[in-house]
């Protein structure tokens, strides 16, 4: 819905899409191309704020329908009827508007006849001051096009309950430059045009404008009770200040057997007569006995005669008098609907004949009633909830299906089969006119049944999940190409061969490979055992000067204090003792020759035993001047469990991490904890932390252990020098900790590698230990190993070559 602005003499229309103004004669926005004018109806509001009640959001518009379903508490308590805040906007606003004479009850003006009704106006004084009084309540003025377009104009409007909202719908009722506002009176209103509105205002008002029961307190036979309750609620609010409702005496409201009271009153004024059977029985709701009697009769007839009577109203009369025709007249492009609205209203009212007063109508007496409606809500409401489920007209209407592209016919009084079963406000949503245009320009599925039949582009009331279409079936087989399949099979065969144990072919004891293996073993043993047994010293020890890393160990060993022990970690396996013990023998000898105390520790379970073995070997084979006694000259701290964590713990709190010495005490002496505490021994009296050790020597064949010591212990050593004696296989991994151009940042102070390092140390020390003993065997054994590899490699190469030639010879076909 666009907003019309009058700028100077020219009325501009503001596009709701881009917000820019366009000349009034344009159909589409020149800026964004959006449609400026609806397909069916012209704009109903001049409000720039765009807060027209019709712009309320769909959610808000549904609220009044929800309110219709409220329980009877609101009805009983009359909530909202006394308070305009709780009232729907239009009644609440009407009361104030009437008082302020700003706009008035326009649709009531229509009821009473406005200026455009030639037959006379039932205009209120306050309404007379309002221009364009021919407008209808905006809930009746809902444009069918808007409904067909999913009602986008029913935007959310926070001012719904604010006074501005009152202006909205009232402005909607007000005349517009494109609004002719020609409203026809219903028949009954037309017939009552001569009688004073002040006196019969409440009688003539629709029920939604009727005073609330609390305000009026009508008698059971009161004339107001003949009105639908929803008419009452509105009336009470609207005219509580304007109109002093004076219930008529029961005598006046008694049924004359032919008409309801209010119609009877009208008939008295207009001379209209009829039969009781033609009257809707909801008008006789205070006469239940009478209503029940007539209900059976109405059911037998299957239709309501009085509706038929109303449907027989001459076309010229209905076209000019039906107030509901204002909907069509406002559109400006549709002819009069005639008795449609009245018919639908009456047929709608006729539902009360069945004693099935719909809840939503009852709730109109409640507090919150929004006279906004959307197509979705309507489509979701079961017809039974309207009380129309047994109405033949409605059933016929529901059964009516139009072809998809069939334009909606303009409703006429002759369409009583359709309009007679619907309330007028529902009919207001129907595409009365311009439907052809709507169907032409509106995309989407055509609604064929229901109140919104003929509209396109409606939201689907069903959730997509409710659609029970069978989901597509997808194949679970992997789509692969032939090459991919071949690769997959190859990979599968490789994996299968890995899992299947391969049978070892029976090899003859005299096979070449077995012979070669035996020869290698025998040669190695003989060449290495012979120098050991004979004790030859043919190969001289290395004569080169000691490398710097070995020289550092030498210097540290010579400068180690005698009052503090040197920490020695024996972190190697017994299998590597042949290399590491030889390498460490000279260092141990140097320390023990000076009488430097030793503290042995290990992160290997057998390392502590290897330390004991080393000390015992040296002391037994090389008698020193100072005999080493356990607890006095050396101590064995034993095994540090926990790997890296244990080593870190030892670096932090060595006294707490090791509390029992690795000694020869039997199990019955272990209860004496003090005797077994190595930290209480004289050797460790000056040691509290690792930094108190003057030197730390790590013997290991594992790069991981060496790395753990460097990472976990070295930061806590401070002045304590960390040195290592490692096997040849671990040298490449340890050497990076040593090689640093800045000597102060070296993590290792000294490094001694393998048998060669031990032999060099012995040569520098000018002593003869295990290094000298093993040196010849080592030299011969390494050389023999090289020769065996070369010889064996040559042998295998030739053997394989011969085998290949034999196979090639066998495979070559004989001529």
């Amino acid at each position: 819905m666009q907003t019309v602005h009058t700028v100077g003499k020219m009325a501009d229309i503001r596009c709701q899409m881009c917000g820019k103004f366009n000349p009034d004669d344009l159909v589409e926005c020149k800026h964004c191309g959006a449609r400026l004018k609806p397909l069916i109806a012209p704009p109903l509001s001049n409000d720039d704020s765009g807060t027209n009640w019709a712009n309320a959001s769909q959610e808000d518009t549904l609220s009044w329908l929800r309110g219709l379903g409220q329980d009877e508490e609101n009805q009983e308590s009359g909530l909202g009827l006394d308070d305009t805040d709780d009232l729907p906007d239009w009644p609440g606003s009407s009361s104030t508007q009437i008082e302020s004479a700003s706009s008035g009850l326009d649709w009531m003006d229509d009821v009473r006849g406005n200026a455009s009704i030639d037959s006379g106006a039932l205009r209120d004084e306050s309404v007379e001051e309002t221009p364009g009084s021919g407008s209808l309540p905006s809930w009746l003025s809902i444009d069918e096009e808007e409904v067909s377009e999913q009602n986008p104009s029913f935007v959310e409007s926070p001012e719904m309950e604010s006074p501005s909202t009152e202006d909205d719908w009232l402005n909607t009722l007000s005349s517009e430059d494109s609004l002719t506002a020609t409203v026809s009176l219903p028949d009954w209103a037309e017939q009552s045009k001569d009688f004073a509105p002040e006196e019969q205002l409440s009688d003539d008002l629709p029920g939604r404008l009727a005073p609330s029961p609390q305000e009026v307190t009508p008698e059971p036979d009161d004339f107001d009770d003949d009105l639908p309750s929803w008419l009452k609620s509105g009336e009470s609010s609207l005219f509580e200040q304007k109109t002093q409702l004076t219930p008529e005496s029961p005598s006046d409201t008694e049924l004359d057997g032919e008409f309801p009271d209010w119609l009877d009153s009208l008939s008295r004024k207009t001379g209209m007569t009829g039969k009781l059977g033609e009257m809707p029985e909801w008008l006789d709701e205070n006469e239940p006995s009478l209503a029940l009697e007539k209900q059976d009769e109405a059911d037998e007839e299957g239709t309501l005669d009085w509706l038929a009577t109303l449907g027989d109203v001459p076309e010229e009369e209905s076209g000019s008098e039906d107030w509901g025709a204002g909907v069509g007249s406002q559109s400006g492009s549709v002819g009069t609907v005639g008795g449609l609205t009245l018919d639908s209203e009456d047929s709608f009212i006729s539902a009360f004949d069945k004693g099935e007063t719909p809840d939503w109508l009852e709730s109109l007496q409640g507090s919150e009633v929004d006279y906004l409606e959307t197509s979705d809500t309507l489509s979701e409401i079961e017809p039974s909830s309207w009380g129309l489920e047994q109405t033949p007209e409605l059933e016929d209407w529901q059964d009516t299906e139009r072809p998809p592209q069939e334009p909606v016919r303009t409703l006429s009084p002759e369409d009583s089969d359709i309009s007679g079963g619907l309330p007028s406000w529902v009919n207001a949503f129907r595409p009365i006119d311009g439907a052809d245009i709507a169907t032409e320009y509106t995309e989407g599925k055509l609604e064929r049944i229901g109140p919104l039949a003929g509209l396109r582009g409606l939201l689907n009331p069903e959730a997509d999940i409710a659609k029970t279409t069978k989901p597509p079936t997808y194949s679970d087989s992997l789509q692969v190409s032939s090459s991919q399949h071949a690769n997959a099979q190859l990979l599968q065969s490789l994996i299968e061969t890995e899992s299947v144990p391969q049978s070892i072919p029976d090899v003859s004891p005299l096979s070449s490979q077995r012979i070669l293996r035996v020869i290698i073993g025998i040669v190695l043993i003989l060449t290495m055992v012979f120098p050991l047994i004979s004790g030859t010293e043919n190969i001289p020890l290395p004569t080169q000067p000691l490398p710097q890393e070995i020289q550092s160990i030498w210097n540290l060993s010579n400068s180690a204090p005698l009052d503090r022990p040197v920490l020695v970690s024996m972190d190697f396996d017994p299998g590597m003792s042949g290399e590491l013990e030889v390498a460490a023998a000279a260092v141990f000898d140097q320390l023990m020759a000076r009488g430097v105390p030793l503290a042995i520790v290990s992160t290997s379970p057998v390392g502590a035993g290897l330390g004991e073995r080393q000390v015992a070997y040296l002391q037994s084979n090389f008698p020193y001047d100072h005999h080493y006694v356990y607890g006095e000259d050396y101590v064995n701290l034993g095994y540090i469990a926990g790997g890296t964590a244990g080593l870190a713990n030892f670096a932090l709190i060595p006294r707490q991490s090791v509390v029992m010495a690795y000694d020869s005490r039997p199990i019955w002496e272990l209860l004496d904890l003090d005797a077994g505490n190595p930290w209480l021994s004289p050797v460790m009296k000056n040691i509290t932390l690792l930094k108190d050790f003057p030197m730390t020597i790590i013997l290991t064949d594992s790069p991981d252990i060496a790395r753990n010591w460097v990472e976990q212990v070295e930061p806590h050593l401070q002045d304590n020098a960390l040195t290592m004696i490692v096997s040849a296989q671990a040298e490449p991994f340890v050497r990076p900790y040593l090689e640093n151009t800045d000597p102060t940042n070296r993590q290792l102070e000294g490094l001694l590698v393998g048998l060669r390092g031990g032999a060099s140390y012995e040569q520098a020390k000018n002593s003869s230990f295990l290094g000298r003993l093993y040196w010849d065997a080592f030299g011969v054994g390494v050389l023999v190993a090289v020769l065996l590899i070369l010889a064996g490699g040559g042998f295998n190469y030739l053997d394989q070559l011969n085998k290949t030639r034999r196979q090639a010879r066998k495979s070559k076909p004989r001529k």
């Binding site: 070669l516 293996r517 290698i520 073993g521 190969i539 001289p540 020890l541 290395p542 396996d573 017994p574 299998g575 003792s577 042949g578 502590a608 035993g609 290897l610 073995r613 356990y630 064995n636 540090i640 469990a641 926990g642 964590a645 244990g646 713990n649 932090l652 709190i653 707490q656 991490s657 690795y662 000694d663 039997p666 199990i667 790069p703 790395r707 040849a728 040298e731 490449p732 991994f733 050497r735 990076p736 090689e739 060669r756 040196w775 080592f778 030299g779 390494v782 050389l783 190993a785 090289v786 065996l788 590899i789 070369l790 064996g792 490699g793 040559g794 295998n796 190469y797 053997d799 394989q800």
Partner: protein
């Protein structure tokens, strides 16, 4: 949520790891107790217990083998006897007692050293078979490097051929300092990065080496 995730063990591991990590940067003293060291002591004790549990598991496995039908498991019997005897000797008489050192000096060290000796023979045989199995660039480089290192290590070559020996010594030093140390440094850096990544994964609970 996968309920099979060991929530308790994961929570303990992550909490302990985070606590140790945070306490490493900021020591926390509560009641004059360094909780970082407390946690480390717990880990150390658990490590010792784990070693004992491993020994018990090994004994139980081989004891079941002794009860099983079929060929008599001599190896399992020897292992069980050695374990029981060693355990009793060390526990009763002490780890540095005569009996315990006898077992170490005359049984354990020779056995393990023999395994290393067999390894030497096996490596020589495998090197000789290498040219039989597969001859390509990498195998030739691998074999050549091993031969050069052995030759430069052997004192006999250095002494018999002094001039060549010096050059071979220099070549060995280059191999050790440049290619071998370079490769070792790369491995150490990889280990460090892997340790960090593993630590983060454990702290995040993504890696649960403790099971689950």
């Amino acid at each position: 949520m996968n309920l099979k995730i060991p929530i308790i063990s994961t929570t303990i591991a992550v909490t302990s790891g985070l606590a140790v990590l945070l306490l490493y940067f900021s020591p926390l003293l509560i009641a004059n107790v360094d909780w970082r060291t407390v946690l480390l002591q717990w880990a150390t004790s658990l490590g010792a217990v784990a070693l004992l549990v491993g020994l018990i598991n090994l004994a139980s496995v081989h004891s079941r083998r002794l009860d099983d039908e079929g060929p008599f498991p001599v190896n399992s019997l020897v292992l069980m006897l050695a374990m029981i005897i060693t355990f009793i000797v060390v526990l009763v008489f002490g780890p540095t007692s005569v009996g315990a050192m006898f077992i170490l000096n005359y049984i354990q060290i020779p056995v393990e050293t023999s395994l290393i000796a067999i390894l030497a023979v096996t490596l020589i045989y495998a090197s000789a078979r290498l040219v039989r199995r597969k001859i390509d660039t990498f195998s030739i480089v691998f074999l050549s490097t091993g031969l050069v290192i052995l030759l430069t290590t052997s004192p006999l070559v250095t002494d018999l051929f002094p001039i060549v020996g010096e050059r071979l010594q220099a070549l060995r030093a280059w191999f050790t300092s440049v290619p071998a140390s370079g490769g070792a440094r790369g491995i150490l850096l990889g280990i460090a990065l892997g340790t960090i990544a593993t630590g983060i994964r454990i702290l995040m609970g993504a890696d649960r080496p403790y099971g689950g």
